[in-house]
C-alpha cells in the first residue's frame, strides 16, 4: 500500500456538495465546521469548474512543520492525523495549510476557538479504533472497517476519488485516455503556466516531464 490521497476530477464534479454532506453526516461534524467543501472557479461563466477540497494529506505537511506542540503525525498509509489532546488551537496550521483544511469549532458561549478539526481520511485518530472516544474526537474510522472515505465512496459522478495514489493515478489516466480530454487540468500547463498565445489544453512544451526532449540537432 502506497500513500492514501484524494483526487478530484474537475471534468466530472457537478458541485452537488454530496461529498460535503456525506462527510458531515458520517462524522457528525458540528455546525460551522466543514472538513470538506466544494470550490468553484469562474462560477456562472461557461466552462466553470468545481473541485472538492479537504485535507490533501500532504507528504511533507506544512501544518505539521509549523505546529508548536508537534501534535501531527503521519500513518504508514500516508494519512496526516493529529492528537486533539495535545492541540492548543493556536491556528498556525490554518495559516500554513494551502488548502484551508484546518477548522476550528466554536467552543463555549464566548466563541473561544476550539481544538483544530480536519479531514482524517476517515481514519479516526490516536484512540482505540472504532471506540466511542475516537468517534467523538475524530469521527468514524472507516479505514479500520476496510472502507474508503465516505465522501469519495458516495460521489455520484465518481469525480472524487480516494485511496492509494498509484491506483488513483491509473484510474484517472484511463479516464482521460478514453474521453480524450481533461488531462491538462492537472498537467504541466496548469502547474507552470502556458506559453503566450498557447491555447488552453495545448500540449505541454517539449522537454517537460513526460514529453520528448527538444531536438538539439546533435546525433547520439
Amino acid at each position: 500500500m502506497a500513500r492514501m490521497k484524494f483526487l478530484c476530477d474537475a471534468e466530472r464534479c457537478i458541485e452537488c456538495n454530496g461529498c460535503v454532506t456525506a462527510c458531515k453526516q458520517e462524522h457528525e461534524i458540528p455546525w460551522g465546521v466543514n472538513r470538506r467543501r466544494v470550490v468553484t472557479v469562474n462560477d456562472g461563466v461557461p466552462g466553470e469548474r468545481s473541485i472538492s477540497v479537504a485535507c490533501m494529506h500532504c507528504s511533507d505537511a506544512p501544518c505539521a512543520a509549523v505546529c508548536p506542540v508537534d501534535c501531527f503525525y503521519r500513518t504508514a498509509e500516508g494519512v496526516v492525523l493529529h492528537d486533539k489532546d495535545l492541540c492548543i488551537g493556536c491556528g498556525y496550521c490554518f495559516y500554513a495549510c494551502p488548502f484551508g483544511a484546518p477548522q476550528f469549532p466554536q467552543a463555549g458561549a464566548f466563541g473561544v476557538r476550539g481544538k483544530m478539526d480536519k479531514c482524517t481520511f476517515c481514519a479516526g485518530g490516536p484512540e482505540k479504533d472504532m471506540s466511542e472516544l475516537e468517534f467523538k474526537k475524530y469521527g468514524r474510522n472507516r479505514l479500520a472497517e476496510g472502507k474508503l472515505p465516505a465522501c469519495a465512496e458516495m460521489c455520484s459522478t465518481k469525480a472524487l476519488l480516494g485511496g492509494d495514489g498509484d491506483v488513483l493515478a491509473d484510474i484517472y489516466r484511463e479516464r482521460v485516455t478514453i474521453r480524450g480530454r481533461g488531462g491538462e487540468v492537472w498537467g504541466w500547463a496548469t502547474a507552470y503556466g502556458q506559453p503566450a498565445g498557447a491555447q488552453p489544453g495545448a500540449q505541454p512544451p517539449a522537454g517537460a516531464p513526460g514529453q520528448p526532449a527538444p531536438s538539439t540537432g546533435q546525433k547520439s
Partner: protein
C-alpha cells in the same frame, strides 16, 4: 507535656514530606520536530481484520477499483 508536642511536630513533618506524593506532571515537555501525542494503531490491528494486513489491503483495493466504472466490467459508459 513533651509527648503531644512531639507527636504534633511529627505529624506535621510527615504531612509536609508526603505533600507532593500525589502530584502528577502537568506540563508536557516538547521535543522539537517529533510527534508528542499518543501512539496510534494501524487500521487493520483490530476487529474485523485482527492484524491480517493482507485481508485489509484486499478490502481497500477492491473498493479502490470500485471507483472506476471502466474496471467494473460495465464497458464504456459516460465520462
Amino acid at each position: 507535656m513533651m509527648r503531644p508536642i512531639a507527636m504534633t511536630l511529627l505529624a506535621g513533618a510527615v504531612g509536609v514530606a508526603l505533600a507532593a506524593c500525589g502530584e502528577r506532571p502537568q506540563v508536557v515537555n516538547y521535543k522539537q520536530g517529533t510527534y508528542q501525542g499518543k501512539p496510534d494503531t494501524p487500521p487493520y490491528a483490530n476487529a474485523p481484520f485482527d492484524n491480517k494486513k493482507e485481508e485489509w489491503e484486499r478490502s481497500i483495493v477492491a473498493r479502490q477499483q470500485g471507483q472506476s466504472e471502466y474496471r467494473l466490467g460495465r464497458g464504456r459508459v459516460g465520462n
